[in-house]
Point group: C4
Chain length 268, copies 4
């Protein structure tokens, strides 16, 4: 039994060592099921597919949830093999509340809840939760770990520039509200409503559903667009430099020379 | 009395030394009130909230102005503790005209003015001044000081690229006016009107309310969009490099040791 | 005969050595014909030009295909002069399936096929294949080889960020579908339909044909635009740094001399 | 007489040496007149200003042209003081065809031509030429010389990426034409018409006057927007790095260490 638990742990979590081959096959299978789930979530909203393949969508849903449930329970069973979750009860409880396990839970929970729920509104909201199945792929993704580490590195700067963006958005939208409200009372009806204009203007999306028409409003709108480009350049620049640093660190070493003895130094 | 002034000065201005704990609590309180003011300014323009919570909005307004007024007067009283504003009269006068004190004044002045003002137009314009309460947060914001120093560092380049952007905007809009005016005399009615198109085209916002329809106008519009991307890349690039430099400078130099002679090397 | 083949190979492929002058003239002629073909492909879709110059378009088409066919056959004949395709049969077969030769084939094949095809739909689709004639210019283009090498260098990062973009697109569009579907069932009709909004929002194109109208949808739309700017900054940053690296590598290392000991220093 | 010519040359061209004070005043006057001309060109197209201040606009026009004409003739007279244009006839002729002198000529020529021209269409086109008066400011602008030198440095890369952008535009628009033409024959009427969509999509302007409606067209439109962001990142990146290099070159020297003797080297 303990031997089985160890083997299962290796297959499910480490993807290294003894059961590497089986682990690889299992992980590929899991990624395939998650990808097919993404496809099912997207396509089952197209009315014609939903009607024609209703049975297929439902069967695949049941199969996916079944597969994920078994996998979830097994993971809880074997998690104690990990040093971090060593204790048979408190370790398992801590594992259950880890980010990865919570995502796994949110991917299956809505299905079981909707079996008992009768209120249609709740069922529809919970269906949205199935998107968490996509996040499960983050377990296997190099990209997500990279983003996580970049965002961690640049946390301070990103929070700072987010505050700045929100601050500028409030200022620009407030001024625009007082400028345009009398000319277009239905569109620039309140500052929160004007903030929708503010976002589309400063991100340069510009859907065209709301835009200033008075000369003063247009002047302000032009300034907002220019400021927006500069402002959004900030987080962009931070992220780009973060990614560049990250990529550079993983690359070849840099060679400099010691100012004292003149010999070569390899900086990793 | 002098002792009280010293203690108050420490609480209000330094946030260091003896009364550090009380200073921290006071500053957190101030930031909370400012944030709530921002929320009130934004939400009181939503008709339904304004009607339902009219009383709450007014009471909070009176409380805020009261709080800010007391704080403003206390700051003027204690400012002489600062070496810069040492003189009991001229020092206080100089403090009153400092940027921080002017922002504090503009945050409370409109309220008192509107008590006596009877002209509705002026009252409405002065309400806009309440946004200055948001700027008060700049006193506590790391971000604002950073932006200020970056903009100061790159002043010359930014002015230069702003002139360039305005120059290009005039040229592109003038040519577009002569090209499109006869085809769309109501939209491209004058060069100033065409400049609204110019800004939305060169910042790539593109609301769609005004755009060329003649083949020549479309060709020019395409060139304007491409030039615009290149042109707005300029201030963006300047700001990004400015922020990067600033962040790099604040990160302490990395010290390593030469593997050959063992001496210290400072890597900037 | 063998001598002629060698001369022809030099003219067609090497543009160096003995027949350099003729090779240059031939290549300039080829680029001119390809450019004129691009012009013809673009202009023949304008109804008035197509009617007035129908004969000219057709004659130029026949001439181009004739020229390209002769050139294609000659290239197959002489390719064995290249060491890579030495064998008289297998070498030629391998040459025929090389990228360059396949592009050459796709540039002429549609014309011959449409001579025998009777189904109009196929003829119209095949006409689209004439665009491959433009790709022929890649043979002579420095730019294309540069892009190819940059994309090769940054392959891993680009795939990674593409997966991320698709992932975010699915998440954002799925959530937006559940938020906006009941308010605009005709526009946000399904998740695939909502993905069209997702792309235009996250790339900040914003045509305005589809956009959220509910407060929650607008909030999500604003977040999507901001996230989109950050997200698309990623591949942009990767490509820009790739091109910069490429340009830097091709610039020869700068050699200076130490002012103290006079020895050569290579600055990379 | 020769002495007067020398003094005038110093005032008009060098802004250094003996007559520096007068030269500065003259140049400031010239920049003021050019700026007022820009304002006049922009504002005289606003119907209400044009009617009310018709006399003022005309008088200022006559004054400006008079001032510029005298200045133009004086510059031709004194140019022989410059070593480059030493010869009394050939030197002056070469000066007349220099870029700066040609811009000066184009700023005054339209006015004289329109005095004799009777055809209204030509008069209106020539009015457009008055914009050249704005370009005259480039004589005094640091920014223009900087841009000129950056564009010169990066000439090769910019031409390369412009060709790429045009190439991609033709490819994307051609494919989109064949995909969308049958669904929207009035909007995607020909490849040149589709190229207007192509530019607005790839620069992410997106006016919304023309956009794909078929699923395949939307897919292609999404890819075009993503490719466009990457593609326009190219010239942007080149220009930004060009400006950064330019700014860096003008800044402080970089310190490295000689790999042979270990001593400090200052790299300018």
């Amino acid at each position: 039994m303990l031997h089985l638990r160890k083997s299962l742990f290796r297959i499910l979590e480490t993807s290294a060592g003894k059961r590497r081959g089986i682990s690889l096959i299992f992980n590929l299978l899991l990624i395939t099921i998650i990808t097919l789930n993404a496809l099912a979530i997207v396509l089952h909203t197209v009315p014609e597919y939903n009607q024609r393949f209703a049975r297929l969508f439902y069967d695949f849903e049941v199969f996916s949830v079944g597969f994920f449930t078994v996998e979830y329970l097994l993971r809880i069973w074997v998690c104690v093999e990990n040093e971090k979750y060593h204790h048979w009860f408190w370790g398992r409880l801590r594992y259950i509340f880890s980010t990865a396990a919570l995502i796994d839970f949110l991917a299956i929970f809505p299905f079981y809840f909707t079996l008992f729920a009768t209120d249609l509104a709740i069922v529809r909201i919970l269906r949205l939760f199935r998107i968490f199945r996509l996040f499960r792929i983050s377990r296997y993704s190099h990209a997500f770990r990279m983003i996580q580490s970049v965002v961690n590195d640049k946390k301070e700067e990103l929070i700072l520039s987010t505050i700045l963006v929100i601050f500028m958005l409030i200022i620009v939208s407030s001024v625009m509200y007082y400028v345009e409200h009398s000319a277009q009372p239905d569109k620039f009806s309140s500052i929160p409503a004007t903030m929708w204009w503010g976002v589309t203007a400063m991100t340069t999306v510009g859907y065209g559903d709301i835009h200033p028409i008075t000369p003063l409003g247009k002047l302000l709108g032009g300034i907002a667009a220019i400021v927006g480009i500069g402002l959004f350049a900030l987080p962009t620049g931070i992220l780009v430099s973060g990614f560049n640093e990250h990529i550079r660190v993983q690359k070849k070493p840099r060679i400099t020379y010691c100012p004292h003895c003149g010999k070569e130094i390899v900086n990793h």
